[in-house]
């Protein structure tokens, strides 16, 4: 027979812990509340202990992890608010609505802090697009869903990343990130403080949809998932737009003490978290909660995950004022309870008490915490041993280049980002297609640069090194735009934490991120964990997505990766080593996903990043681009595309040709400068002891690479561009 706690996903030990908190057995409502709150998705019970590896403080950190979103100071009384969130499981079964509601959720986290959302990003992983119609269906729906929600909200979706690998066949990943801007004195938190203050509810009515979404996200996807169908909801971006404007308007009036979105675990989570962060207690009446369906049980009201709802903690006596503002936006606010100092979350149904528990005990501070067993999987040492030199060298590098440029992972993602309104708000200075998105801040000289990155093949082959590379790559993208990297939000997507080899991957990744963030001085200020991304037959590659934001002091000085003018000098900074392990080339051309991942030398990395940043700011560079997936040859090709300019490069090297072109050695950049600034730039490089190699010049329309005086690649840029741009559309049809 099923134990009652098993039905809500808890263990016997956890049940005992609840009895300890309550001094009695929980009733059914209480048990369900613990069930959703102590799910992995809400409590981070398997992952929390490891977060101490993250640096989370710093001079600029105004809010670290623990709130709806993290906040980092950008000077002039301004701050940047950011957070990433996964919506993997819902997107796998209803791609449009799953992705759309993911975007809706992350936007609420940002305006819950009082900030106006100014940009959206997304990180997507799908299975093998060339083998599966289902993958195409998922992409089509996910992209349309992200577009549908973000476009309607009027928030530009300005950057993202998209990768394909058969490890995601059964488990696509959809991570959405949102960034907001706020003035320091407008920062609000999800605090229920001030005894007697009112707890008000605004937004969509509560229905039975999304019941138990949090626990749904905390199990593996099986045929049974079909049974949990109601965990997917239909998003209402129009409602959310009104909700956002109403909340932002309310915050200016000073009547709002605290603000909290209703996300995973719905009212239960919002009430206990705000109570725990504030006065400690809250009493609410479920009968006052607006409902969409008749006959809902208290427990259903408490754990429903209906979208587009917010909880407001309102100064006593100012409820009518709040109602009026909210009504102007066509919404209704109702008082459902009040703040107490009794330390308890008391849920009433009229006069009847249906749940009464210590508020903090539901929250992550009271939830159990586990130190999972971990074990290094056998594949780790094994795959490392592979020597890329054993792969046969291509005979025709023109052909290899074209194959790579049209491959799903390297081709242009224009098909995707043209469906996103990336220009609304007229602040997008650098649009999708360069290394990072750059947005101006109206009324200021400043700008922000945003990126999201992760090479999950590296993270599979070496989770610690791969994760550190994800962080440094994100930072590289920012410095190329002329931005100083400031902070990180991390979206950790992994398999089941209950399996020791998966938990090893998770632990290694967290340590790798922590180390890199410390080195680069980019604290982790928010994040999200998504476990159980596996099916009976396979787990995803560890995919710790790194969202990073940087600050541009003078927006007029920001830089893009595209070559600008014929005759400009092209320079490679950093050193190319024989590092084809885990490369896109090895995977695509040879079908091999093995080898040691490239080494990362933080000393060199920091030196180069500092150099790029100051060279951009001094105006020495006309373009700057980091070398990543596909290596030097692909990086150069990417610089040529936008303006259809060519290059004539002459390389010298002792390495095998495929390594020269496609090695993915870290800490490398391709930059261009005018001939006139070359001398000055060389002096500057020499002074800072930057390793560099002058490759050649930007030319008319030919992409020409010679190595040791022998021509290796000669292609027309126009043809490359057409193939590279058109490839994704071809894949989709």
């Amino acid at each position: 027979m099923n134990k009652p706690y098993e039905a809500v996903g808890l263990t016997e030990k956890e049940y005992e812990k609840i009895i300890e908190y309550l001094g009695r057995e929980p009733n059914e409502t209480e048990l369900s509340m613990y069930g959703v709150m102590w799910s992995e998705h809400c409590s981070y019970k398997h992952s929390r202990a490891l977060f101490r590896h993250f640096p989370t403080s710093g001079k600029r950190v105004l809010q670290g992890p623990g709130e709806n979103a993290g906040i980092i100071d950008i000077g002039d009384n301004l701050a940047l608010v950011m957070k990433i969130e996964s919506h993997n499981h819902p997107s796998a079964i209803e791609p449009y609505q799953g992705a759309a509601t993911g975007v809706g959720g992350i936007i609420r986290d940002i305006f819950a802090m009082g900030a106006r959302p100014v940009a959206l990003l997304n990180s997507l992983r799908f299975g093998d697009i060339e083998k599966s119609e289902r993958v195409k269906y998922l992409i089509d729906g996910v992209v349309a869903g992200i577009a549908g929600y973000g476009n309607c909200m009027g928030i530009p979706t300005a950057a993202g990343e998209t990768y394909f690998n058969s490890c995601y066949d059964g488990n696509p990943l959809v991570n959405a990130m949102c960034v907001g801007i706020i003035e320091h004195d407008k920062i609000h938190r999800g605090n229920a403080s001030g005894v007697g203050n009112s707890v008000m509810y605004v937004g969509a009515a509560t229905g039975r949809d999304g019941m138990g979404g949090a626990s749904f996200a905390s199990v593996e996807l099986t045929g049974e998932s079909e049974e949990k169908k109601s965990a997917v909801q239909v998003g209402d971006p129009f409602m959310e737009k009104l909700l956002m404007e109403a909340c932002l308007e309310l915050l200016v009036t000073g009547s709002i003490v605290g603000l909290q979105d209703l996300g995973a675990a719905g009212l239960t989570s919002a009430c206990c978290e705000t109570a725990a962060r504030g006065e400690g207690g809250m009493e609410i009446d479920v009968l006052k909660v607006p409902r969409r369906e008749k006959g809902m049980l208290p427990v259903e009201v408490m754990i429903s995950e209906s979208q587009e709802r917010m909880l407001l903690i309102v100064e006593k006596g100012r409820e009518d004022e709040v109602k009026k503002t909210v009504e102007k936006w066509g919404l209704h606010a109702v008082t459902i309870g009040r703040v107490t100092d009794k330390g308890r979350l008391t849920v009433k149904e009229g006069d009847k008490t249906v749940a009464d528990v210590p508020a903090y005990s539901l929250d992550s501070s009271g939830a159990p915490e586990y130190y999972r067993e971990y074990e290094e999987p056998a594949y780790y040492q094994e795959l490392k041993k592979f020597r890329p030199e054993t792969a046969e060298e291509p005979k025709d590098y023109n052909k290899t280049m074209m194959e790579l440029l049209t491959s799903p992972n390297l081709c242009s993602k224009e098909w995707i980002y043209k469906q996103y309104d990336h220009m609304v708000r007229t602040c997008t200075v650098v649009k999708p297609g360069s290394d990072a998105a750059v947005l101006r801040i109206r009324g200021s000289k400043k700008g922000i640069a945003l990126t999201v990155d992760c090479n999950s093949r590296y993270c599979f082959l070496d989770p610690r090194a791969g994760s550190a590379i994800a962080v440094t790559e994100a930072a590289r993208n920012l410095v190329c735009s002329g931005a100083r990297p400031l902070a990180v939000t991390d979206g950790l997507n992994f398999g089941s934490p209950e399996k020791p080899d998966r938990f090893w991957q998770f632990r290694e990744a967290v340590i790798g991120i922590g180390e890199a963030c410390r080195e680069l001085n980019t604290p982790v200020i928010s994040g999200n964990v998504s476990f159980y991304n596996e099916t009976a037959t396979q787990a995803i590659y560890p995919t710790p997505v790194i969202g990073m934001a940087g600050l541009i002091e003078d927006i007029d000085k920001c830089c893009t990766m595209h070559f600008k003018d014929e005759g400009d000098i092209v320079i490679l900074l950093g050193k190319t080593e024989n590092e084809l392990g885990g490369s896109e080339y090895l995977c695509r051309i040879h079908g091999i996903e093995k080898g040691a991942v490239p080494r990362l030398n933080f000393g060199l990395e920091k030196k180069l990043q500092a150099f790029i940043l100051s060279a951009v700011n001094k105006g020495f560079l006309k373009s700057a681009h980091d070398v990543s997936d596909g290596g030097l040859a692909i990086a150069l090709a990417e610089c040529c595309m936008e303006k259809e300019l060519g290059i004539k490069a002459e390389l010298k090297s002792q390495l095998r040709t495929d390594a020269v072109l496609f090695s993915e050695s870290q800490s490398r950049f391709v930059v261009s400068c005018s001939y006139e600034t070359l001398a000055e730039l060389r002096q500057f490089m020499a002074k800072l002891e930057i390793p560099y190699e002058i490759l050649g010049r930007v030319t008319g329309d030919e992409f020409r690479l010679d190595i040791n005086n022998k021509n290796i690649v000669a292609l027309k840029v126009r043809e490359m561009k057409e193939a590279w741009r058109g490839a994704f559309k071809c894949l989709m049809t």
């Binding site: 079964i93 209803e94 609505q97 969509a204 009515a205 229905g207 039975r208 949809d209 079909e226 169908k229 109601s230 997917v232 909801q233 239909v234 998003g235 209402d236 129009f238 409602m239 969409r292 369906e293 209906s306 979208q307 066509g330």
Partner: protein, 81 residues
């Protein structure tokens, strides 16, 4: 053989669109309107097949493509004319 397929959101799923239209109708004076739900109407010309075959195809089409049964339900009518 012609057919009409009706795809509607499951009753437990919120219908933001229907809701917004209900509000709009309310403002236009139709205050009696209690609920609006918006679905899809798909008209198909199935060509020259039998009624039985049409039945069989329609169920499969609906389940496989025309509706996502995670959030939607479907019904269909075959036009016997």
């Amino acid at each position: 053989m012609k057919a009409r397929v009706y795809v509607t959101l499951r009753k437990s799923i919120a219908d933001p669109q229907g809701n917004a239209i209900k509000n709009a109708l309310g403002k236009l004076g139709y205050t009696n309107v209690e609920e609006v739900r918006i679905g899809k109407l798909i008209e198909l010309d199935l060509g020259d097949i039998t009624g039985d075959e049409a039945d069989r195809q329609l169920v499969k089409m609906c389940e496989g493509l025309l509706a996502n049964t995670v959030i939607e339900e479907f019904e269909y009518e075959i036009d016997q004319r």
